[in-house]
Amino acid sequence: MVSSTTPIINQSSIGPLIMYPFQRKTDLPFEIQPDFTFLRQSIHARRANIVVNFQDLYGFMVQGNVDDVNVLNEVREKVREQGRVWWGMEANRGANWYLRTYASSGDLKSSLRFSVLVNGMTLKKLIRKGIPPSLRPKVWFSLSGAAKKKSTVPDSYYDDLTAAVSDKITPATKQIDHDLPRTFPGHPWLDTPEGHAAVRRVLVGYSFRDSDVGYCQGLNYVAAMLLLVMKTEEEAFWMLAVLLENVLVNDCYTDNLSGCHVEQRVFKDLLTKKCPRLSAHLETLGFDVSLVATEWFLCLFSKSLPSETTMRVWDVLFYEGAKVLFNVALAIFKMKEEELLMTLYVGDVIKIIQDTTHNIFDPDDLLTVALDTISFMTTNLSKQRKKQETVVMEELDQRLRRLNTRKLSVKS
């Protein structure tokens, strides 16, 4: 994206923003200390439109221009503001107030039931505006159902599991080992021996918990992001479990990724419905939207969007469900609809999409479109999935049969 001759402002002037001392079961307490002293140097940079490298909220190195840095600063301010709102809610309604939206109404008085309803509505709105990173682990863990999942097994489950499988070698572990150094290479904590070891234990542990999934490429990025947020391996593990077992559609990552195929087909139909002109134009270019959207759905946008933007999508994902992935994917196309309508080549389409996703530093830019502009019925979604499931199964089956016939005829 940036030619090597472009002057890059030296990262060393920023100082360490984030620390990742590693502790196994307890916290991985990296501190996020926004410190943008280096911005002062960049006043000239703005005029020269210089590309700067900077570290974002979760420690990723990002390339952008000075405006992007400013946007990121505004985002930090908004995040702090959200923090104040959340703490205010806690002060008003009591700690863990958000858990009470789930209480079954049967054992509640009507007045209380009303407050549950209010809590629920407020919570949805609040979550859509973003959970402050400091509260994220706690809120995700309880609202996603991960806490409940964990509570159904003995406390030592994760330790026992990782201890039992630590020196086993399977195709899954081999692939995991292959991918460890290739999971966000260059990240100040993930790309260290401790980071690799933590990602490894989570992924290897999960590969034994669900042998149908085993390990699927893409999960490495998901697990890595979960570790960065949750800060403990064990909680990251349970978030991964609840994600694959409850939040996402079945079989996204198994065998032939059939669940992923289903989601892609549903997405294509949605795009046709929501952006008919664009969908028709892309089709004429021979551009299959899955060419870009497959990675979005498999990595849950973690490889495409800036980290805080990804996390904001995940905030909604863990509370409202997998539907949000469609909203966000649609929003990306919607945001660039007019530009995309002018493209003549597949390559140009991809360039626009990639430039867009990599530069959405303000999560609200995306989420406003995704959640307010675009709306569709969730009930339709499950119906659509059912419909596509049959089609996908047939297609995969046919393909397998064709390939196998070939093999036989070659042998004979």
């Binding site: 692939q175 292959h178 991918d179 150094p181 290739r182 999971t183 966000f184 290479p185 699927c216 490429q217 893409g218 490495n220 990025y221 990552y253 198994t254 065998d255 032939n256 990724l257 059939s258 195929h261 002109r277 664009l278 028709a280 134009h281 004429t284 270019l285 021979g286 299959d288 899955s290 060419l291 497959t294 990675e295 498999l298 990595c299 490889k303 007019e338 530009e339 309508l341 002018m342 493209t343 003549l344 080549y345 597949v346 390559g347 140009d348 991809i350 360039k351 990639q354 995969l396 393909r399 064709r402 390939l403 070939r406 093999k407 070659v410």
Partner: protein, 237 residues
């Protein structure tokens, strides 16, 4: 920003592409194309897909070809990664639209999306790894069965710099390639051996038939405003 644009009518796209490819009259919508796809009227756009076992070096070959770099570790590919690169071959330019696919077995089911409509394929194996050669053969079969019949297919025995760890002999691969009418090269993304060559060779072998060698719509071009496709949507940018 709100734009007021209209979708380019389907029937016009091919014409617009033709216009865009003629540098003297029109500019392409993106700058990088502008410098690359050039003079002669014979510019080719070719979709190329890389297939092969995980770790064979597909991404490394592409990175070497596109950026001239080699990284010990690059992000693992999910689905596929897209790159484009233009080559000048004789009097023509070939713009490759490259799809670097993910190698894990279960991603196999996504492959058709990437090789559908592809003009060329490079099937990559790792000369130090016999399994990867077996896997390469499976890809050859699949393309023979399902791919575009005119596809130019290359077999690349990568990591040729690791001679001391070789497990697949050059002879075995060469014979196999001949039997299956593939053209074969041993490459090293690390040492930059035969990487540009393999893409060049593909570019040379691409059938030129579909692309007009002369611009048949010259008359139409002259009548159009000189700013190219964007002129039809002055509101953009």
């Amino acid at each position: 920003m709100r734009h007021f644009c209209f979708r380019i009518p389907t029937t016009t796209i091919h014409l617009l592409r033709l216009l865009a490819d003629t540098k003297s009259l029109f500019q392409k919508p993106t700058d990088d194309l502008l410098d690359m796809a050039t003079t002669g009227p014979s510019n080719l756009n070719a979709k190329l897909v890389l297939l092969g076992d995980m770790g064979a070096g597909k991404s490394s070959l592409v990175l070497r070809f596109v950026k001239g770099q080699f990284l010990e570790f690059q992000e693992s590919t999910i689905g596929a990664a897209f790159f484009s690169q233009t080559l000048a071959v004789n009097d023509a330019t070939v713009k490759f639209e490259i799809w670097d696919t993910a190698g894990q077995e279960r991603y196999h089911s996504l492959a058709p999306m990437y090789y559908r409509g592809a003009a060329a394929a490079i099937i990559v194996y790792d000369i130090t790894n016999m399994d990867s050669f077996t896997r390469a053969k499976k890809w050859v079969q699949e393309l023979q069965k399902q791919g575009n019949p005119n596809m130019v297919t290359a077999l690349a025995g990568n990591k040729a710099d690791l001679e001391e760890k070789r497990n697949v002999t050059t002879e075995e691969a060469r014979v196999y390639a001949e039997e299956n009418s593939l053209f074969f090269m041993e490459t090293s993304a690390k040492a930059a051996t035969n990487v540009n060559d393999i893409f060049h060779e593909i570019a040379k072998r691409l059938p030129r038939g579909q692309q007009p060698t002369q611009n048949p719509s010259g008359m139409v071009l002259v009548d159009r405003p000189t700013q190219g496709p964007r002129a039809s949507a002055t509101c953009c940018s």
